[in-house]
């Protein structure tokens, strides 16, 4: 039924996917145009099919924004200062932004494919560091939600009227409560006896058959890049 071999006790291992993402990034940056197109298409499809719709949407907008900004920026420099024609400048800008956009897609896909628990499970072989990152990953979403609630509550009281004071007013409770939370987490760790040097993590990274595929793909991409 349960036991250390049940599904939730494992996360994907991070290294094959990081390797693949690195190889894909390299192709996106220095590979041929068709290679960039293939990587972009693969990453895009992967992102859309991952089910992380919010991330996919955000990444989509970021890529569009990046492409637009890069093209405008390149044109603004290349046309007056380098003396390129408008069409040529647009071409250079498009090529450059396509590469950057592809890197963004690959990075997003990696973030979606490897949830925080996978990174932490891989870090757990370094006990102190693993614990530190666990606390960081744990705090950040709570802090963000709290900052939002603080602003809302202060606005409701009528404190955010005027200019300078409001920013300061918001910082005080967020800081004070973050310190309190750190204090409570410290007490929890003290109760748990955190000083133990060695621990056997329950959630572990596991090498899966598909990881061989990822690594093979990464090697193929790198080989292709350097051979052709």
């Amino acid at each position: 039924m349960t036991g250390p071999h049940a599904a939730p006790y494992h996360t994907p291992t991070v290294f094959p996917r990081i390797l693949l993402a690195a190889a894909a990034t390299l192709v996106a940056l220095i590979g041929p145009a068709w290679g960039v197109a293939v990587v972009a298409a693969a990453a895009g499809i992967g992102l859309v099919r991952s089910g992380a719709h919010a991330t996919a949407r955000t990444t989509g907008w970021m890529v569009l924004g990046l492409v637009a900004a890069t093209i405008v920026f390149q044109a603004a420099i290349l046309v007056p200062f380098v003396g390129l024609g408008w069409l040529e400048a647009l071409g250079v800008g498009a090529a450059f932004s396509a590469r950057l956009g592809t890197v963004l897609l690959v990075t997003s896909l990696l973030a979606v494919a490897l949830p925080p628990r996978a990174w932490l499970a891989s870090l757990a072989r370094f006990p102190r560091l693993g614990l530190l990152f666990t606390l960081v990953f744990r705090q950040v979403p709570d802090m963000a939600a709290e900052a939002e609630r603080v602003r809302r509550a202060q606005r409701a009281r009528g404190l955010l009227i005027g200019r300078l004071v409001p920013a300061l007013a918001t910082v005080v409770p967020v800081m004070s409560r973050t310190l309190e939370r750190a204090d409570r987490m410290g007490r929890v760790l003290l109760l748990a006896g955190w000083g133990r040097p060695r621990r056997e993590p329950l959630v572990r990274p596991r090498f899966h058959v598909v990881d061989i595929v990822w690594m093979g793909l990464a090697v193929a991409l790198l080989a292709g890049l350097f051979l052709f």
Binding site: P8, T134, G158, L168, A192, E200, L202, V203
Partner: protein
């Protein structure tokens, strides 16, 4: 020491790990405190395997007492300590007046249960304490898996802790205690903020956990817990404090002499990809309104939208004649509009300290009065001083608002809202952390506000808290907003969510007796 089963149902073998807890004239206060210490010459005994219910007004040191029993006395810098607190572990008693932390021997549910869940996902969070104890992987998996299954939380094992609701965090933290299997369990306000089904789940979990363990529970809602307790300890404040008096508000009319009302027209609200409110139209006139609905039904979000703090998806909202939203858009971004709205409408959110920024309670209360241009300088200050006296809070005037206890912070927050003299008041879970005396005072204030012609909306899981004659709003969780008779506790809709009459989970409302041996 060999423990004896108190009622003969649990075997001495199971109980052998459970410690007795004894306090002998224990005094404890933070460093530099000039006033009375929170814990003052306290004596009590809990035998191994017994459950002690700790009750008492806010600020009497209930949380502090649990921390000391847990062995966390050393985390207070340079405190004043008197007498002894002994946790009689079978393996021996710690030297010194206070016990020391014993990893794996104490399960502690703190007031913010999320902070005890140290892991990004629930499974790793529950496993971490066991890993730190040096348990092997098989044993950790067995215990965590078993705890998740008995508490019915298995399907959320991989959920991220930050996405869990208050109720889910509480139950998860209790599952963590079950996995740790400690002989001593300390629970600090386990029932706070839970909806009726959540309270029932938690009581089931508690009934399972308290068997064969020594348990100390601090709680204001002692009614539902009395069946589990072997003993009760009622703490009394070390200094007599003036009782709060009833506020008599003067409710101003809106623009054009309109009587205060909260009106929503075709209001729709989406949150996290889910439709919370779907095309709702309602009018809430003068009086007291109880807002019912399960955790996550959207009570707090609805209040934020009605208060002009969070944008709805579509629809219009008008508060006391002032348009706030129209077709889902803010009606005005002008500062005068904002000032007018905040003078008319005050909101007390769930966690009062999140809104506090000043160095003292007095400054904290003066700031909105000045910022909203109601009164300035010494006039504002004297209004605050009068208010503090009337609310029985003068002793807190110079205290830092971040250092207030939960109940004190709640009373300061409510006073702050009333000092602005609004005609519309929203209170989100206002009973959290309040002792019976403060509850009664708040109920009387709410009733007076409604009688004077103001609109009060109180989001609560305790319908019995509301004054007689209150009207009701119910969020069944399917996008509708039920207003009026269909929303009354005991009617089919609210009853389905556990709001029945009489409320079986209603807390004690009368003042508590003095210390009972």
């Amino acid at each position: 020491m060999e423990a004896e089963a108190p009622d003969g149902t649990a075997s001495a073998g199971v109980l052998s790990g459970a410690p007795a807890v004894r306090a002998e004239r224990l005094s404890f206060g933070p460093s530099g405190g000039s006033g009375p210490v929170p814990i003052d010459r306290l004596s009590f005994t809990v035998e191994p395997g017994e459950t002690l219910l700790v009750a008492g007004p806010s600020g009497t040191g209930k949380s502090m007492l649990l921390s000391l029993v847990a062995g966390l006395g050393s985390t207070y810098s340079d405190p004043q300590v008197g007498g002894h607190l002994v946790v009689a572990w079978p393996e021996g008693v710690d030297p010194g007046p206070l016990p020391r932390p014993r990893p794996g021997r104490v399960g502690f549910l703190q007031q913010e249960p999320g902070d005890g869940l140290l892991g990004v996902d629930l499974l790793s969070a529950l496993a971490l304490p066991l890993e730190l104890l040096g348990l092997g992987r098989d044993e950790t998996a067995d215990r965590v898996g078993h705890a998740l299954e008995t508490s019915g939380l298995m399907e959320m094992a991989e959920r991220e802790v930050s996405t869990l609701s208050v109720g889910e965090r509480k139950r998860a933290a209790l599952a963590g205690i079950e996995a740790l299997d400690p002989p001593l369990v300390l629970l600090d306000e386990p029932l706070a903020d839970l909806d009726p089904p959540g309270v029932r789940h938690l009581l089931d979990d508690l009934a399972r956990i308290h068997t064969a363990r020594t348990v100390l529970v601090a709680e204001h809602r002692i009614g539902p817990l009395r069946a589990l307790a072997d003993r009760e300890l009622h703490l009394v404040p070390s200094a007599a404090r003036p009782p709060p008096r009833i506020w008599t508000p003067a409710i101003a009319r809106g623009p054009g002499g309109a009587e205060p009302a909260v009106v929503a027209n075709s209001l729709s609200i989406d949150r996290g990809g889910r439709r919370l409110i779907d095309d709702a139209t309602f009018r809430l006139g003068p009086g007291v309104w109880g807002l019912l609905g399960r955790n996550g039904a959207g009570k707090s979000t609805l209040l934020s939208v009605l208060a002009g703090l969070v944008a709805p998806t579509s629809g219009a909202v008008t508060v006391a004649g002032r348009p706030v939203w129209s077709r889902g858009l803010r009606v005005s971004r002008r500062e005068t509009h904002e000032v007018g709205l905040r003078r008319t409408l005050q909101v007390c959110f769930q966690e009062p300290r999140e809104a506090f920024f000043a160095a003292s309670v007095k400054e904290e209360l003066t700031a909105p009065i000045e910022r909203l241009g109601l009164l300035l300088g010494h006039r504002a200050r004297s209004k605050v001083e009068n208010g503090l006296e009337q609310a029985g809070l003068t002793h807190l005037a110079e205290v830092s608002p971040q250092r207030l206890s939960g109940g004190e912070a709640r009373r300061v927050q409510t006073l702050g809202a009333l000092l602005v003299s609004p005609s519309v008041l929203f209170l989100d879970e206002p009973t959290h952390g309040l002792d019976p005396v403060a509850r009664d005072a708040l109920r009387a204030n709410i009733a007076a506000f409604g009688r004077a012609g103001g609109v009060v909306i109180v989001a609560t899981h305790e319908p019995a808290f509301l004054p007689a004659g209150a009207e009701w709003i119910h969020l069944p969780g399917d996008g509708r907003v039920m207003v009026g008779d269909a929303a009354r506790p005991g009617e089919p809709g609210p009853a389905k969510d556990g709001y029945v009459v009489p409320d079986p989970l209603a807390p004690e409302t009368t003042a508590l007796p003095e210390v009972r041996p």
